[in-house]
């Protein structure tokens, strides 16, 4: 697979890792946050942690749109889907996300809700056209990457005069979240650790470009390397971050230059701007309220806004108080530090947001990496015995 296989070469990855080890100052530690779930996934899936020296540590950020969706939004979607006139279209990722009281879209479907999994917003549009008697609602989630397809669907629905199509908008914004991680008042409550740099999003950046990260790099004096999602992309980005730290720099670098430009896809940005506007504040699961952290439909498209059209309310719903997602998403704790991890909380029965999608920090660690804890525990156990 061109542009995939070349970037998965394990030998090169190991060589670069050796170079990282050679460059990393043994007297100091390097903490880098990969904001995106895509990077978290690559790190876990390919076992990149095994290659890094002990003093280079990756902190998994909140960058998974499924994980960050608050329970209340899931509850609202379920309540909507249970209405007999509604057909709720959703990406498969959302089906198993837990709402309150063990509910989920998968279970709502089993209980009779008309919920259809779609691969693309185009499928949702097709359903709305084919079944004019149904109220077809597209459950829109995703970062900047996924928003333009929603905008185009809305545009097409308007062009076709599809009166039975609407959008439950949950699109969220990356820069706002990164900023929140660095400056939110919660940081004090949860404690924080030093973050020495960021790996910036791959596909979000194809849309928004590298320019939006300049502010952080400057304001918080942190290097940012925008990187692709393949293992070599990630390991190269880590090398670039180590170099910046060693050089005392805090620049925005672009490792994913084959697909990301400085200003991104301006056509896509324009489509989004036509239909969406900022929300003043939006709850991110695990992060709390994030100012300007999400989008909603512009007022002139109220007829297509499912929240308005169906007077949806987002019930207040609490995460499990034992869940450490907040601290994990800020790098203060690791998944295995949570006492629910791997006991009551697993991908089959997720309790917190980080266990929801395979890109969540806890899920990635459970699915791909938990043998490491185990190996450590076993080793410790043997040493003690």
């Amino acid at each position: 697979m061109k542009y995939i296989d070349e970037y998965r070469d394990g030998r090169l990855a190991k060589d670069i890792a050796r170079q990282i080890a050679a460059l990393a100052d043994p007297a100091q530690s390097y903490h880098f946050m990969e904001f995106c779930g895509g990077h978290t996934y690559a790190i876990s899936r390919y076992g990149l942690e095994d290659l890094l020296p002990a003093n280079v540590r990756m902190i998994h950020g909140p960058g998974c749109p499924v994980c960050v969706l608050p329970i209340g939004r899931i509850d609202a979607a379920i309540a909507l889907a249970m209405r007999p006139e509604i057909t709720l279209c959703t990406y498969g990722d959302l089906m198993r996300v837990p709402g309150s009281n063990g509910s989920s879209l998968l279970k709502a479907k089993a209980a009779g809700a008309d919920i259809r999994m779609v691969y693309s917003t185009l499928d949702a549009l097709r359903i709305a056209e084919a079944e004019p008697d149904r109220e077809v609602v597209f459950f829109a989630i995703g970062f900047e990457t996924t928003t333009p397809p929603t905008a185009l669907a809305l545009k097409a629905a308007i062009a076709k005069g599809l009166g039975n199509f609407s959008i439950f908008c949950n699109h969220v914004l990356t820069p706002a979240a990164i900023q929140n991680i660095l400056e939110s008042p919660d940081v004090r409550k949860l404690g924080t650790i030093k973050i020495d740099g960021f790996i910036g999003p791959a596909h979000v950046s194809t849309v928004i470009g590298t320019e939006p990260y300049e502010f952080f790099a400057e304001e918080f004096k942190k290097p940012v390397v925008v990187a692709g999602f393949e293992p070599l992309d990630v390991i190269q980005a880590i090398l670039m971050l180590v170099r910046q730290v060693n050089d005392g720099k805090h620049e925005v670098e672009n490792q994913y230059i084959r697909a990301v430009t400085t200003f991104g896809n301006e056509k896509a940005q324009a489509e989004v701007a036509d239909f969406f506007e900022f929300r003043e504040s939006f709850e991110w699961r695990g992060l709390g309220e994030v100012p300007y952290g999400a989008l909603r439909l512009r007022p002139q498209y109220v007829a297509y806004d499912a929240e308005k059209r169906f007077s949806m309310v987002t019930p207040a719903a609490k995460d499990n108080p034992a869940c450490e997602c907040g601290a994990i998403l800020r790098g203060v704790k690791k998944p295995a530090d949570c006492k629910l991890f791997g006991t009551v909380c697993t991908p089959d029965t997720p309790m917190g947001s980080c266990m929801v999608s395979s890109e969540g920090a806890c899920a990635a660690h459970w699915t791909y990496g938990r043998f490491r804890e185990q190996a450590r525990q076993v080793d410790v156990g043997r040493a003690v015995a």
């Binding site: 061109k2 995939i4 990406y91 970062f143 791959a202 979000v204 194809t206 190269q236 056509k267």
Partner: protein
């Protein structure tokens, strides 16, 4: 986040639609977010929409940098 893959344009169809392939698997996708799509182009595909073009020269440059870093590591 954001599962996206590099695909090659096989055929440009009317109405901002293209047939793209990845290793013998082909699919019809929307290119409404991209200008000047041509057969042979590589695109980044996400939920049925192309989001960006892949720049072959930059891709080669990145790989060269990676190999260079690796060579240094190998030597290390």
């Amino acid at each position: 986040m954001c599962l996206a893959i590099p695909v090659q344009v096989k055929e440009v169809l009317p109405d901002n639609i293209a047939k793209v392939t990845l290793d013998g698997v082909s699919k019809i996708v929307s290119t409404a977010l991209i200008d000047d799509v041509r057969p042979g182009d590589y695109l980044v595909l996400h939920v049925g929409y192309a989001l960006a073009k892949i720049d072959p020269e930059e891709a080669e440059r990145t790989l060269a940098l990676i190999r260079q870093a690796a060579a240094m590591g190998d030597a290390a």
